[in-house]
């Protein structure tokens, strides 16, 4: 069932490319918050959200396939669908998981943004290896922690 749910979500997302949904997730859900955070942390960077790009005078980022964190979210959704926990715990865990994935992805975008401006070699290392693995590991540990919490606090009914 995990494979079925994940594949369905992934294929659905692929078919949503170029639509309002993709724009909503990437521009409104990823790039704009990242631009706001950069402006908060380093106003001198003068970052702005333009389409699917985080633009700034000294260098920016293009948020392409996989950089919006949606694949990690789909993995989490599929995992929660097959987890042997109550429906309430499943729903709460999933909602919290969405927040966790959003925060993780924003952290990834910010780290990559500043790394690219500081050291392109560091950006390559982070972008290709460290960042994707870090996000998936932290999301996995969150899921494990939620399962552990659910097993210590079983719900009264399903």
């Amino acid at each position: 069932m995990f494979v079925a749910v994940f594949s369905a979500l992934q294929l659905g997302w692929q078919s949503a490319r170029g639509t309002w949904l993709e724009y909503l997730v990437i521009h409104d859900g990823t790039v704009r918050p990242a631009a706001a955070l950069v402006s908060l942390l380093t106003p001198d960077a003068r970052a702005s959200a333009v389409g699917f790009s985080l633009r700034a005078p000294a260098g920016g980022l293009a948020i392409l396939n996989g950089c919006e964190g949606i694949e990690v979210l789909f993995l989490l959704v599929a995992a929660f669908c097959v987890a042997a926990i109550s429906w309430q715990q499943r729903l709460v865990g999933l909602l919290l998981g969405v927040v966790v994935v959003f925060l993780l992805n924003q952290a990834r975008v910010l780290v990559l943004f500043y790394a690219y401006r500081a050291d392109p070699d560091l950006f390559d290392l982070l972008h290709a290896s460290i960042a994707p693995i870090a996000v998936i590991l932290i999301a996995s540990i969150y899921f494990y922690a939620w399962l552990a919490y659910a097993s210590r606090n079983p719900a009264a009914s399903d």
Partner: protein, 250 residues
């Protein structure tokens, strides 16, 4: 006997962080020779999987965005696509050329890196178990690389052709490639890591519980003899001894 228990989430997080740091550093140091060792098997796999392409060159190069595996290929023969015929570069007066696909070295190894992190982060009852995990994971990681690299190369080659000549159709292997790159590869990495841990535990349990020498399990029957006679033992094998009266033997 040591019994492995599920680790706490915080303990697992710390172990995962340390394992990730070790694996990332290790791969950063050896990624180039490791990927270079994959060139020959990759070329063989591509020849096996798709005869529409001929591989011109596979090499590891460094450009402005870091080290990459670069592959150049050409069509092996004309193909029908988008209602027309596409000829290979260099065919009947067409200028020489080819299609180029490149991958970052880190991107090639990231799913296997995740497998390695999982098997190192999960607590082991002994160093021997940890070594066994690494050994058992090697064929699984080879399978993961085979499922990822040649298929992704072919998917990208076909995508380049379809984008140019038949954008409305879905290129071959596109679905599998997108599934892998869209989180499926990481799911496999995690799954293979957990599978390795389970297989190692099973193997360790099997070798620990195997009988030591002698016949198989059975039951000894202690037979009491008559007055002055030493008890005789009937039956064979290990197991519990039961006392029977001599009368049962008559």
């Amino acid at each position: 006997m040591q019994v492995a228990t599920l680790p706490r989430a915080t303990e697992l997080a710390i172990r995962a962080f340390i394992a990730a740091a070790v694996v990332t550093l290790l791969l950063y140091c050896v990624q180039r020779p490791l990927v270079e060792s994959l060139v020959a098997p990759l070329r063989a796999a591509l020849s096996l999987l798709d005869t529409d392409f001929t591989i011109q060159a596979i090499d590891v190069v460094r450009d402005v965005s870091g080290e990459k595996l670069r592959l150049r290929a050409n069509l092996a023969h004309p193909i029908h696509i988008g209602g027309g015929t596409l000829y290979p570069f260099g065919w009947a007066g067409i200028p020489d050329g080819g299609y180029q696909v490149s991958f970052t070295l880190g991107g090639i190894l990231q799913y296997c890196a995740l497998t390695l992190i999982v098997i190192l982060a999960w607590p082991a009852v002994s160093f021997h178990e940890l070594v066994m995990r690494v050994a058992i994971s090697l064929p699984l990681m080879a399978l993961l690389l085979f499922a990822q690299l040649p298929f992704t190369v072919l998917a990208e080659l076909w995508r380049a052709i379809h984008q140019a000549y038949d954008p409305a159709s879905i290129p071959r292997l596109q679905t599998w490639s997108r599934l892998l790159m869209g989180g499926g590869g990481f799911a496999f990495g995690l799954l293979f890591g957990l599978l390795t841990i389970a297989l190692t535990r099973s193997a360790e349990s099997y070798f620990r519980s195997a009988p030591i020498g002698g016949a198989g399990a059975g039951e000894y029957e202690l037979v009491e003899g008559g007055a002055g006679n030493a008890p005789r033992v009937a039956g064979s094998g290990g197991g519990a001894a039961t006392r029977r009266s001599a009368a049962r033997l008559r």
